[in-house]
Symmetry: C2
Amino acid sequence: MSNFEVRIFGTGSAIPTNSRLPSSQIVTINDRHYLVDCGEGTQIQLIRNRIKFSRLDAIFISHMHGDHVLGVPGLLNSLSMYERTHPLKIFAPAGLKDVLDVIFAQTHSYLTYELEFFPLEDYKPGAVIYKTDKFEVSSLPLEHRVFCRGFLFREVNKKPKFDFYKAKALGVPNNYFKLLKQGNTIQLADGREILPDMVLGEAEPPMSYAYCSDTRFVEKLVPYIKRSMLLYHESTFLHDMKSRADETYHSTAKEAATLAKMAEVKHLLLGHFSARYRDLTPFMEEAKEIFSNVQIAREGQVLKLKELTESNE
Amino acid sequence: MSNFEVRIFGTGSAIPTNSRLPSSQIVTINDRHYLVDCGEGTQIQLIRNRIKFSRLDAIFISHMHGDHVLGVPGLLNSLSMYERTHPLKIFAPAGLKDVLDVIFAQTHSYLTYELEFFPLEDYKPGAVIYKTDKFEVSSLPLEHRVFCRGFLFREVNKKPKFDFYKAKALGVPNNYFKLLKQGNTIQLADGREILPDMVLGEAEPPMSYAYCSDTRFVEKLVPYIKRSMLLYHESTFLHDMKSRADETYHSTAKEAATLAKMAEVKHLLLGHFSARYRDLTPFMEEAKEIFSNVQIAREGQVLKLKELTESNE
């Protein structure tokens, strides 16, 4: 079973507070790291959380608001200080390239590695933008004041495993198990041939994580994130500020929970809270009325998707 | 007595560490704040230290390296979120203007207040760049790999105060003291006229703070910072790495102490330590061999210049 976890660095919105930092998260799959949004101070969080810079393979930036993007230049710089030589992929709105070009020129910086820049505008919503043999990342159509994309991380190629009970039911002696696991066809003493496929169980369902921030309530997201294991959805406001949420293209806790319910996700994680709120309990209460499996994101939190799966069985 | 203090937010150099943040300090004089350098994360430090954004009057940026400047865009943005309306002065290398223009355009930001940008290239070393009726800031000629200026904060117009002992020696009765303090000339019973100037003591010497980072050892700084109360001088390296310091236009602890001694400053504060050093005791030891009144800067430290004066008397 591969590891698949999400580590939260920032749950604030436009203005940081005493306890809430700008948006940024690390998705870790098979010990490789993928940064999702990169607000100011992200590199300091990475260092404090002992995230190995060398294991960072790609950065995904949802949109060009300062609280999601101002940590990028410093982080890219520091990777050079650590003398990174392997390329880094970055998926972001095209405008980030202009910002980086000017900053690098004016701060006399150069990168020791290749930065492979992929403008998100080049991909249709739902398109796979990044792929390994274990998982893929696709873009989600969010609706914010500016061009904005969410990201869906989803396992692929999950292989069914050898099923001890199936083998026993077929009367296969234990000393043949290893051969079958290795993919060999065997012949039993009674002449029957046993193919590896005959002793395979069901493949575990692929684990998936959907990141939806910043966005207003978007019903058309439902098919894209259907039955995801974990949905991170922004809830900048409580529902009594629905008109302010509408004006600023943000969501309320109630709306996030409604989407979670419609999409039948397993777990909902609320984040991106306005600086006006000190106590976040009302977000939990408001969401729970609609969707019970909800948590409030907090700085430093780590969610292991495998444990969420098990807690759900 | 006006307050005059320096609060340290970051003592690191190019790469932040677990315990050391990028360069940034607040100089507070008469309850108004002046930010000196603004590495990534500065606004979060300001919030955590409860520095009132509304009392920030000017920003001084020494040079265009990321660890001194990448916190500026986020801070300026946040001031707008707090709906600042009064102008903000910023003294920085001209290139910062280009960076801000691109970032504001690409992150869809606009400022709610006027940003008065003063390119440091417009001032000769030693020139006064900012002035109030209580203090002035002048630029210091540092030598780094890129254009770089230090800053000297120095009290001006320190008024001599009424001297009780002088008045007594002249035989002035107590009931005349108030009149003299108010600037009135009085006539005593014996016919003598006493002018206010006749009962004034010495004015206290002006307090001054010199910020010198980043720079190699620059002997020509001496007359600019002569007899300053407090000198913050970078010491990126220990002296056994003198050749690395030379290559990168940085200083060693020994060089910082030598400059402090030559300039006859009262106190030396060392900072801007390379990430390669965990224990900073050797910096203290190296500097003390040359200049005894030295401290190692640390995050969150507050130095009150009045207390330094008294500890020195």
